[in-house]
Symmetry: C2
Subunit: 300 residues, 2 copies
């Protein structure tokens, strides 16, 4: 929580900005909205849904990402969304595409985390906003930014990163995973002439009182509301100039105010899981079961 | 916030308790979960979904409740859920049934409110839990209670009432609307021998510090997080011995701490809408638009 540095930027890169036909995308977003989502994302609190459009099996119920060298095929939903399908085929090298998904997010925040897994698998992941608005944010390390519609982002997933939609209108991102390559730009069939600069968000500086008020919420924290309280605190990263490390510090201090050892342990385990010791497939943010999903942790 | 009275009860009545086959219901709940819900409930914060099984039109996309004397017919989803369909047909007088819905709720709280509308329309509404657990609650006036599986409840909807599921596991209630009758019991084809007493919840008494801590959360309230904060406060009714009137008082005092006139107005308007001046179909809990959905209100 320091002075605002207007020269900040992110390691994630905009490869190009592609034109998007808003009317077509909105029409297909309505189709997606009434379609079942078969995936739940434990790194998020709120309404976050993933819809598979393209994968190895061509089956949208199969959301496990499998290593494969052969390129994928369209799911039933992927075939149905003609505009998005054509958008992918006309702009990207689909012979190298292994998975395409639509990420729909509304009134939700993602825990700041590192993706070690993607690195080991050595895939290239691109994200392209199809629908967005001013309250939909991304964060990488200490910087908060907005992705504009049509921007093709190559995300630096090993950095601590997260996202949030503080509004009730849906944000829809296309997420494309390709076979690895040294030249991600070659995955694009065409690129624009000029590259936009990232839309970095300048945030308010939090006062000492504000920090104290956040920590004090811990006094009413209990198992039945800790998820709501954590969501409230995670939002602070987008509203105030607070880093992910400081967000986790706030959460830990807040949890200590609850005097509930289960809550204190849970928050510490989540912080370590998201930023340090990530284990594949471990369901750490199961909020209903306080016995089996928490690792023992000695609180100093 | 007074001493616990163990003699309290509710005006809503248990008509009987019917046997439910848990395995069949759980299997059909999985079918419902991947089915689109066409209705959104503005009196609720969190994940609340309604699925129409039976109505005048036999069309699940039509969720507007229309006055009618002719009995309804099954929707596509209603026909698909064979166990629930048989359960309704074997236990209730379907010649008087005008609407059947499944209410699915998870990590959600309903604003304490009165239903004037149902009374004018003069229908009989019964609710029957098909799946529930210990963190799924109902409230009527100053009393909090749990509905047990298979209990057929005739709810006193003109009293201030609400519901909450503080857990992440879904609660599934069947909601049946019948043509009006003086003898709701006659809507049942068979009834049990003994009537269970309502499962009234004895809640902890809140301390003065606790009340102060809740109000203090208002200091960090802003448009981007007020919905999360209201959800947190609404949960308090189920965790502590706090009445609906006191919940709204807490929300108003909390909103004043924000010093944001839009938030102060919004909270006052919501309280009046839920408990006093209910206008049909007015979308008061639209959290994204702060200009058009708030009635002007002079703050003293």
């Amino acid at each position: 929580m320091r002075g605002i540095d207007r020269g900040v930027t992110v390691q994630s890169r905009i490869l190009c900005q592609l034109p998007i036909d808003e009317r077509s995308v909105v029409a297909e977003a309505h189709e997606i909205a009434i379609y079942p989502s078969y995936y739940s994302y434990t790194e998020c609190i709120g309404d976050w849904r993933s819809y598979t459009l393209y994968n190895n099996q061509g089956n949208e119920r199969d959301f496990i990402f499998r290593s494969s060298t052969k390129s994928g095929s369209c799911t039933e939903l992927g075939k149905h969304l003609k505009y998005i399908k054509t958008f992918i085929e006309e702009n990207f090298d689909t012979t190298k595409l292994v998975q395409a998904r639509a990420f729909s997010m509304r009134d939700a925040v993602v825990f700041p985390h590192r993706d070690f897994i993607e690195v080991n698998e050595a895939y290239i992941r691109l994200q392209i906003p199809l629908i967005t608005h001013s309250q939909a944010y991304h964060a990488e390390e200490d910087v908060v930014f907005r992705m504009r519609i049509g921007e093709v982002w190559h995300l630096a997933a090993t950095n601590v990163h997260s996202a949030a939609n503080l509004g009730d209108r849906r944000r829809l991102n296309l997420c494309l995973d390709f076979e690895n390559t040294d030249q991600p730009i070659q995955l694009l069939k065409k690129t624009g002439d000029t590259l936009p600069l990232p839309d970095i968000v300048v945030r308010e500086e939090p006062s000492e009182n504000h920090v104290r008020d956040i920590i004090a919420i811990g006094r009413i924290a209990r198992k039945e509301n800790i998820k709501d309280i954590i969501k409230l605190v995670l939002k602070e990263q987008y509203l105030m100039n607070i880093t992910p490390a400081e967000i986790y510090d706030l959460l830990i201090k807040l949890s200590e105010q609850s005097r509930d050892m289960d809550i204190i342990r849970k928050v510490r385990t989540i912080r370590d899981y998201m930023t340090v010791e990530r284990a594949v497939g471990k369901l750490l943010t199961a909020w209903d079961n306080w016995n089996t999903d928490v690792e023992p942790f000695e609180v100093a």
